[in-house]
Symmetry: C2
Subunit: 247 residues, 2 copies
Amino acid sequence: MNVPRHKLAPHCAECPIRHKAVCARCEADELKRLEEIKYYRSFEAGQTIIWSGDKMDFVGSVVSGVATLTQTMEDGRTQMVGLLLPSDFVGRPGRNGAPYDVVATTDIVMCCFRKTPFETMMNETPHIAHRLLEMTLDELDAAREWMLVLGRKTAREKIASLLCIIGRRHASLTPDGPSGSMVFDLPLTREAMADYLGLTLETVSRQMSALRKDGIIELKGKRHVIVPDLGRLMDVAGDDSDGGFYG
Amino acid sequence: MNVPRHKLAPHCAECPIRHKAVCARCEADELKRLEEIKYYRSFEAGQTIIWSGDKMDFVGSVVSGVATLTQTMEDGRTQMVGLLLPSDFVGRPGRNGAPYDVVATTDIVMCCFRKTPFETMMNETPHIAHRLLEMTLDELDAAREWMLVLGRKTAREKIASLLCIIGRRHASLTPDGPSGSMVFDLPLTREAMADYLGLTLETVSRQMSALRKDGIIELKGKRHVIVPDLGRLMDVAGDDSDGGFYG
DNA sequence: CGGGCAGTTGACGTGCGTCAATTAGCGTGG
DNA sequence: CCACGCTAATTGACGCACGTCAACTGCCCG
C-alpha cells in the first residue's frame, strides 16, 4: 500500500494542493526548504492515522482522500469534530499529545513533516505561520458553525446542512458547471454521518429517505448523491442566505 | 459610562492581562508600539458590542468582565459559540465582516486596536502573530470539545460540563486554595446557559435543581454556586480523566 | 450459494421541548 | 416599611422528535 514516492509531486510546485495548503504563500526558495524535509505517507480506508493521546511527532497536509477527526467518551459515545479534505492540515505545532483520533475514511495520501524541523522552519518563515493562522481561523469558524448545527437544528436540517457542506467543498475542489444543481459521492458511511451530526445511524437513514421522497435529493446506490436544486436543499438546512461566504 | 482612561493601565506593563493576552510574548519595545495605538472601550451589561454582519474596524482583548459570542438563525433560534473572559481576543485580522454577535453579559472593559494598524504591526511582529496562532488553536480545541458536549451529552451532563468549564476558568484567573472544592458566581442567566448548551431554559432550570437535590452543587441565591466535590461534578459531566489538560 | 457488512424500515419508549402557572428576587415609589 | 411591578427562575402537565431494539433487505466478495 505504499505509493511510490517519485509519483507524488517530487517538486512542490507541481503539487495539487500547492495553492491551498499550509505552503500556499511560500516563495520558491521556501518551497525548496520544505521539499527537503517533507515525506509522503499513505493510508488505506479504515486505518487510524493518529490515536488520541499518542505522542505526535509529525504534522502534515492531506494531499488526496478524506479523513475524520473524532472524540470518544469512556462509554463509547463518539462525536466527529472535523472532516479533513485535501489541503487540510493535521497536527498542532507547539503541542505534543494528539487530542483526537484521526481516521482515514477513504484511501489517503498525506504530505508530512517531522514536527521539530517544521516548527523551526515556521519560526523562520512568516509565510507559513501566517497561512497556518489563516487556516486555523477558518477551521474555528467552521467549528462554530457546526456548533449551531449540533445545538439547535432538527435531524432533517442537520442532514441537509451536512450535504450542503460536503457538496460545497466538493465543488470548490472540482470547479465545474455551477448553476443550481450538484452531484457528488458521500465519503462517509451512515454511521460516520451520525457521528458528525450527533444523531443515530437509524435517524440518518430515515431522514435521507425522507429527503429522497420529498425530491430534495436523489440517490444512485448508497453513496452517490444528486441535488437537483441547491436552493431547496439550503432552505431545508435553515442556513441564512449568506451560506458559504468566506471573506 | 466611560471609564476614565488614566485609570486603565496607562502602561501595558501594569495591565492585568499582560501575560495571557495577545500581547503576552511582546518585548518592552513592542509593548510601547502597542501602547501608541491602543484605546479602551467600556460596555454595560446587556449591550451588544458587535452586531453580526457589521463591518468590524477594530480588534481587541477583554480586560475585565464577560461577553458571549452567539449565532442566530432567521427564525430566532440562537446558539452561543464562545464565552469571552479576560484576556480573550475578539475579532479576526484579515477579515472584515463580523460573523457573530458579541454581547456583554456583565459590565466589561476592552483594550482595542484599530484593525489596519494592528494588522500592520502583526505582520512586523512575529511575537504577536505567534501568540495569536497559539490562542486560536486553543479556541479551536475548546470549540471541538464543545461539539462533543452539544452532540452527545445528556442535559445533566451538559450542565455539569458547563459548570466545570466556568469553574476551571474562574480558578485560573483567581489562583486560590485548590483542593477538591470550588466557589464562583455564574456570569450567565439560565437562558444564556441554555443557549450555550443547546437546551431550553426550563431544562436548564430543572437540571440545576436536580444537581442541587443530589448534593452535587449548592446554590446561594440564583447565581452563586458552591461545588463541594469537584471530582463528583466531573464524574457527572462524563469528562474523561484528563479534563483540563492543556499541554 | 453463503457469510458479512451497510443500509433500511418498523414498533415502541423516553428525554427533552412546549405551554402555562407560580414563585422568588429586587428596585422604585408612595 | 410595605405595595407594586418587572424580570429571572422554578415547577408541573403533556406531547413529540429522536433514540432504542429488532427484523429485514441489498450488495459485495469469496
